[in-house]
Symmetry: C5
Subunit: 249 residues, 5 copies
Amino acid sequence: MPEAPQTLDGWYVLHDFRTLDVKAWQSASAAERTEAWDSLEELLLQYDAINSTSQGSFGFYQMAGHKADVLFLHFRPTVAELIDVKTKLQKTSMAPYLQSPYSYVSVVELGGYLAKPGVDVETDEYLQSRLKPRIPEMDQICFYPMSKRRDGQDNWYMLPTEDRAKLMRSHGMIGRTYAEKVKQIISGSMGLDDWEWGVTLFAHDPLEFKKIVQEMRFDEVSARFADFGVFLVGCRVKVEDAKRSWDIL
Amino acid sequence: MPEAPQTLDGWYVLHDFRTLDVKAWQSASAAERTEAWDSLEELLLQYDAINSTSQGSFGFYQMAGHKADVLFLHFRPTVAELIDVKTKLQKTSMAPYLQSPYSYVSVVELGGYLAKPGVDVETDEYLQSRLKPRIPEMDQICFYPMSKRRDGQDNWYMLPTEDRAKLMRSHGMIGRTYAEKVKQIISGSMGLDDWEWGVTLFAHDPLEFKKIVQEMRFDEVSARFADFGVFLVGCRVKVEDAKRSWDIL
Amino acid sequence: MPEAPQTLDGWYVLHDFRTLDVKAWQSASAAERTEAWDSLEELLLQYDAINSTSQGSFGFYQMAGHKADVLFLHFRPTVAELIDVKTKLQKTSMAPYLQSPYSYVSVVELGGYLAKPGVDVETDEYLQSRLKPRIPEMDQICFYPMSKRRDGQDNWYMLPTEDRAKLMRSHGMIGRTYAEKVKQIISGSMGLDDWEWGVTLFAHDPLEFKKIVQEMRFDEVSARFADFGVFLVGCRVKVEDAKRSWDIL
Amino acid sequence: MPEAPQTLDGWYVLHDFRTLDVKAWQSASAAERTEAWDSLEELLLQYDAINSTSQGSFGFYQMAGHKADVLFLHFRPTVAELIDVKTKLQKTSMAPYLQSPYSYVSVVELGGYLAKPGVDVETDEYLQSRLKPRIPEMDQICFYPMSKRRDGQDNWYMLPTEDRAKLMRSHGMIGRTYAEKVKQIISGSMGLDDWEWGVTLFAHDPLEFKKIVQEMRFDEVSARFADFGVFLVGCRVKVEDAKRSWDIL
Amino acid sequence: MPEAPQTLDGWYVLHDFRTLDVKAWQSASAAERTEAWDSLEELLLQYDAINSTSQGSFGFYQMAGHKADVLFLHFRPTVAELIDVKTKLQKTSMAPYLQSPYSYVSVVELGGYLAKPGVDVETDEYLQSRLKPRIPEMDQICFYPMSKRRDGQDNWYMLPTEDRAKLMRSHGMIGRTYAEKVKQIISGSMGLDDWEWGVTLFAHDPLEFKKIVQEMRFDEVSARFADFGVFLVGCRVKVEDAKRSWDIL
């Protein structure tokens, strides 16, 4: 039996995608809409406040296409807190106008090999900054879930440990060539959600999402062993600009 | 033809997942919401009372992500009772605010080999405690359905009996190393629901769900022979704390 | 080309699964609910009356889980009558409270080999009783659709006729060992609905559904050649007890 | 590269399946229902009038099961007209009570080999009658979409031209043995809808649908190379009898 | 590892498909409908104005079948603008009557080999006209998403670079034979949406969509390596004729 790789696990992650129910929204009175918006804005500020603590991160995004209009992206130390931030949104006056087409529950994951001998994961600054990540200051976001394939000859989990390590190394090399252009947060979701990982990419230029995904697809790890779920792409909205940016009033 | 393994079967299980219809809930008057909540609380107490009998078990959970907000977890001696507990919920004043995105019907299953010669399953305390399980006193829950694969060379049901037994033994060993951290209830659902088994895991730390699922995925039984459905994760709510914990009012 | 097996075909079958729209139901006034229920009860009596003729059969069941709350099970001589019984339900005052999550259209099917030389299918009592079946006096029901697989080496329809016959014989043997515990009605649905067959099982003990399905899954016919759709399980409601049994008022 | 077969293409086809929204229908006043029905009846007459021209065909059917209640079947010379007949239905007072669970867009297709040398397709009576078909005077209808498989060794589009021709010839022979009992219209939908073909069968006895589909499934063309979508079955309603036949008032 | 091909990337594309909510539309008063239509017409004019600039393209289409009633087709320089055009539509008085069954986000893509040595992509007129395309003056449109297959022996991304190049060359030859009849815009969507490419075809005669798709399906690139999503077909509506063409009032 191949050995399961060690992982380092950080904050839990909730990708909470929402669409605006336009019919309900436009039926609401101006007063109701203002109240709804104010309650959302207040919650956004409350969510955002976590960014000035070491207890979590939060980002707000507008999404392209019909699959989602906005994304509330939460990093928190526990699953209970992910439930709490969802419940808080459900309780705002904005919630009746927001539908929940998709979400993703996962936990930030790093390769265990990063914990070099002698390094204390709990105090190592570099590891802690990756396990408990800040939202990158980049305006474009891309999210997709994925699993490693277990299909006849193309079964990742039946490969010898060395083969997997070698393949991952070459895969990581591609990622590294994009290090300046694309920041990526990998979060594991086995036992937590329907796919094995969530991938969240950040960039200044969304074309870099296409380039890195395409280049990796020719890499054997993806070519032979990756199955992908939905892809969603969007742009960051600074909480203080939310009203102006997500221009729905 | 490989021989079908004997199983021991216990209580029937209903995983009854629900989401709150936020739009309907917020449109309700305070009085309607109070009445709805009171009717739910009364039913929760009624469900919970089964825990002090030997006629079933009940647990209530809040779930992460958009797939479900709460889980009503019922163990009962008959399918008719599973229908009855569903109907009881449908009749509360809370029911119009609860949607039914998912459920799972199964029956607690143990390997027949556990019934050692001379053991009377009906009176053996250990077997009875596993066939008619109490809800573990652990705060975190994970549920997923699964089937064994029947795909070309990877066909579990075409393996010789000894090969299956050997593979399951090594699989069980992984489970055992998690015995303190993860309690699992396996329930069979062939002929009862869409997958072959339901797996319900309980832990103090949800990271253990990820660890056990990941470690098992490298085991040949899962790597070559397991197909998985949705994964749902959540936190226990004590019935007496329901109003405070599931904070929707 | 392998030869297509002859079949004997009997009554057409409609499995008409419904869920109760709890929100609409609870919004209705007591008078509306009474009227709705009365109209359903009247139709149930009308459906049920067919059981005392030789023109069809009818059974009413409550189902477990979220996929369906009730099943109206109709056997009738023509497709036109299946449309008619559906339309009759749609016209009751109960219909606005019933959603149609699933249904299945098929025709009772027996192996052609049962028509032994010299036997007149149209008058043979045994064959007629199986082609035009009465609803078994057993309280538990299980339904699932299935197809034979056509996948690479596992292609049922490319097997030589003798191989298929031999495999089906051993498969039938399993069914026969359950003859007392499980009554099964196989209905063909090629050209009529999305899978190739519907399987309807009846038993006194629902555990027998799990046992027969599990035992058959290790048989090569299922192990290599069967694909399954949804599984639904429930309990019979005698029409005279409907109001008390399906306790929704 | 195998050569793509020549086809002869005739009228475009819209299979427009609808279900009745029973809740909305029963909430409507008698006057609203009468107005709705009258508007539908007027449109049915207008649709039907095409049958006495050479500009198209139209048939109206009631369907079995929950997937559809009725089918509006249109043959027209252009895609623009298919859009027009849809829009016309949307504008009737009946439209708010009709949901659109499924439709299919295709174009009548004949094998190019039917255009024998010296034959002018545009004036040949036989070919024209098949390319611009009248609705057969048969009461039962069956529709399903399908594609040819492209899967490993079972890849229709990689077969040498002669092999495909030979396989299709034997396939056509089965169809011919049903010529009296089953009329079939094959319409191509590559580039037009989600499958490669739509198959519409007409018969006096719906059992013939099951028989022809089953017999063909054992033919290599279907056994190894066919993937099927949904199957829908129903009964013709003469436009003058629509009110009495589709008995929803 | 095979080398990832270079691409040239142009404008971002949003295929925004909508269906009319007939029930809501017919419940609206004449005044509400007029206001809704006027707001849509004003936005159509605003969308259309981009065609007289070099900042984007826009086309409006009516679609056949139930999957969509209209398509708003946008080409814009940034993802942020794709979000903006969606938001603008959501804010019109027409939006509450329009549902969003499907959309597609991608970016116009050309083979990198087109950038011959010495050519400056940013100024080359031919390349610029293809990267920032005008809407072709052809009345018929077809859209479908697709991916290259990664399945056992049929894994496009594991082919040697030369094999891919050779296969694509022969594939391109087919496209070229249709150059007069079918204009195609290929847009890449790796990292942007659920499939790898979107294909948008334009023609005077919709039969050409069927012909080119069918001919290509016999080409090895499609036969062995292409997976297809939904297919949608429709007809152009000139913005000045929208009211008359999309005849819903």
